[in-house]
């Protein structure tokens, strides 16, 4: 499967930019333990179960899925905060899991994270200057001590904060400003990759756009690559070049932003996209509407075969026995992990007259929506 995947990846990838992060069939199982004195393992939470992806320089990879699908665990794996149960994660061609000591530290400099909650991810007793400058304490060789203060102030300026606020404490800032502090801290070591784990979901609507725009502007300025993990599908579409859709620890569909949003083929992607409401009342009742039954099954005991089959309207016997691989099937342009992958437009209005300019931009004609 892994070779298949990397073929897929290279086909998908844009011509420009070399691969900075290559993830192949990575798995992370957490043991479920029972017993007080003698703990024995009674099962495993298959948090991430065979995910492959590729991140190129200067691009943004969106990872979407509902809570419990393993997207945050994937982020932690990429950061080297969790050791994968199996599979490989290569940063600039070097296996992360093999690194030790100084090399591991050096690797860590290269990949940084921005966390979701700007309230709990900043130490309330440290000043902003200390927070943003802390990476230099961990990696003293990154920057000489005498330059640190000015660099921290420059970083604050880069993320749109007043450099003179360097001695203030986090509680003196609003949610959006705190997220900027977190971003400045992530930028301190000049990483190539930033993993953003739900970076805007705790922010108010009017502030969200400020932070999203900041991410885009920084990417342009520093040539950063982002892994953008979020549950807000509209924000992910806005910022991503490519998107991985996850369900219960597996990647179910992988493609460019246009392939995923304009031509989704996996039933789960379709259900997910159709559930997102569009802020336009004229589309009410004119969009394809898929309501899924039931809840996500437990990752301790996932369904056999296709993990989505328990909620899928297309499921047949084969889905319970054969696990569909994330491969490009005949007639499709991108990989989808469904035996019956067919395209269905769930984002736009079914009615041609109501289609928005965005739809025309992609030259969609609306005839392929009859798969209902």
């Amino acid at each position: 499967m892994s070779t298949e995947m990397s073929e897929q990846n290279s086909k998908l990838a844009r011509a420009d930019g070399d691969v900075v992060l290559q993830v192949t069939d990575v798995k992370k199982y957490f043991p479920v333990k029972k017993g007080i004195v003698f703990q024995r393992t009674v099962g495993q939470v298959q948090a991430v179960d065979g995910v492959s992806l590729e991140l190129r320089r200067g691009e943004t990879l969106g990872v979407v899925g509902e809570s419990g699908c393993g997207k945050s665990t994937l982020g932690r794996l990429l950061m080297g905060l969790e050791r994968p149960t199996s599979g490989s994660i290569k940063l600039n061609g070097r296996e992360i899991a093999d690194l030790k000591g100084p090399e591991l530290r050096k690797m860590r400099r290269n990949i940084q994270i921005v966390l979701q909650d700007p309230y709990s991810s900043l130490d309330p007793r440290m000043t902003v200057g200390d927070i943003v400058g802390e990476p230099y304490h961990v990696h003293p060789d990154a920057l000489a001590g005498r330059d640190r203060r000015t660099t921290v102030q420059e970083l604050l300026d880069v993320v749109g904060l007043d450099p003179s606020h360097v001695n203030r404490y986090p509680h003196q800032f609003s949610g959006g400003q705190r997220q900027r502090i977190g971003i400045a801290r992530a930028l301190a070591l000049k990483p190539e990759i930033i993993v953003c784990d739900e970076p805007v979901s705790a922010l108010d609507v009017s502030v969200q756009a400020q932070v999203v725009n900041l991410f885009e502007q920084l990417q342009e300025e520093f040539g950063l690559s982002y892994v953008f993990i979020a549950h807000d599908l509209s924000v992910v579409r806005h910022i991503s070049d490519r998107v991985l859709v996850m369900y219960l620890g597996k990647g179910v569909e992988y493609g460019t932003e246009a392939e995923i949003y304009e031509h989704p083929t996996h039933p789960y992607t379709q259900a997910l996209l159709s559930a997102v409401s569009v802020p336009d009342p004229r589309l009410r009742g004119h969009r394809d509407h898929i309501v899924l039954e039931g809840d996500v099954p437990s990752p301790v005991d996932p369904p056999s075969g296709c993990r989505f089959r328990t909620r899928c309207w297309k499921a047949e016997d084969i889905c319970a026995t054969d696990e569909p691989m994330l491969v490009t099937r005949d007639g499709a342009a991108h990989p989808s992990a469904c035996h019956f992958a067919t395209e269905r437009d769930v984002v736009h209005a079914l009615d041609r007259d109501l289609r928005t300019e965005g739809a025309h931009m992609f030259g969609r004609d609306g005839d392929s929506t009859a798969s209902r």
């Binding site: 609507v205 756009a209 806005h238 949003y261 996209l273 559930a275 997102v276």
Partner: protein, 350 residues
Amino acid sequence: MTDILSNGHHRAIRTPLDALAFDEDAPLLEVRDLQVEFHTRDGLAHAVNGVSFVLEAGETLGILGESGCGKSVTAQAIMGILDTPPAKIAGGEVRYRGVDLLSLDESVRRHVRANRIAMIFQDALSALNPVFTVGWQLGEPARKHSGASRADARRRAVELLDMVGIPAAKERVSDYPHQFSGGMRQRVMIAMALALEPDVIIADEPTTALDVTVQAQVMDLLAGLQKELQLGLVLITHDMGVVADVADKICVMYAGGAVEQANVYDIYEKPAHPYTKALLESIPRIDQKGQDLTVIKGLPPVLTDRPPGCSFNPRCQYARGNCAHDEPPLYDVPGGRKSACHYWEEVLGS
């Protein structure tokens, strides 16, 4: 479904409600110039500053705003569940079928709650009591308000769970809240709100804590029940997408005040207030790619220290000199709309 609801074992006792002169021709719910203040250490905060709206049976009103704009306080004031102090209702009226609820004694008002106006909260896990079964909590309105027996109340709880689409309701009724998933818990909340057949439901961010696919399920259920039972629904949310899907009319709130009110189609097509317009332009849409997100500069004001004049003026791109000292009234805009902007014509035309 109405059969299930009116099989008679509740509303058996006479309640103080029978003494009230409800006027069935008056609007279902009418809020007039509601003012709520909070006395805080930092001074007086006008959390709600002159909000008015009318809600008829079978209608959905979306109250849209960011955190701290006063939308939840408005809901709590209507329900009569504000903590006073620190809150104080400084003025205005909340009329249900013509009767001003704010003038009622608390002993009467508690019968209006649940019987006539019920509320659905955002966080079902903290709104439900973890040490009682769901069935016990669902039967509580019937026991307390209608004097139903324990057995009757339990039967009623099963009916209610059935109505909100919880599978195997007979078994699930003896489960505790933690045994339900997030979406199922929110269904339980909806069931509880419907327990005494209210006419008005106030839903405060009912789907915010849920995953998208579950959110769609819960909104479908709520909208379906609203239509079926001809409820008046007040939907409080910050999600412009959710309101666009279900609301009939919208009230946009900013810093405690209603800044724009209009029919849902008008407001999304041509907003008449700069704040609404900026909000709509600042969110990415799932059906479009490549649009620029307009940034609303700055932050919403602190309620204890609102800017003089129009509270949006420091962030507004249409602001002129007079905006900083003349507080705009709610101007009438053609088409039965209202906008609290001196330059609404310009905003509407742009």
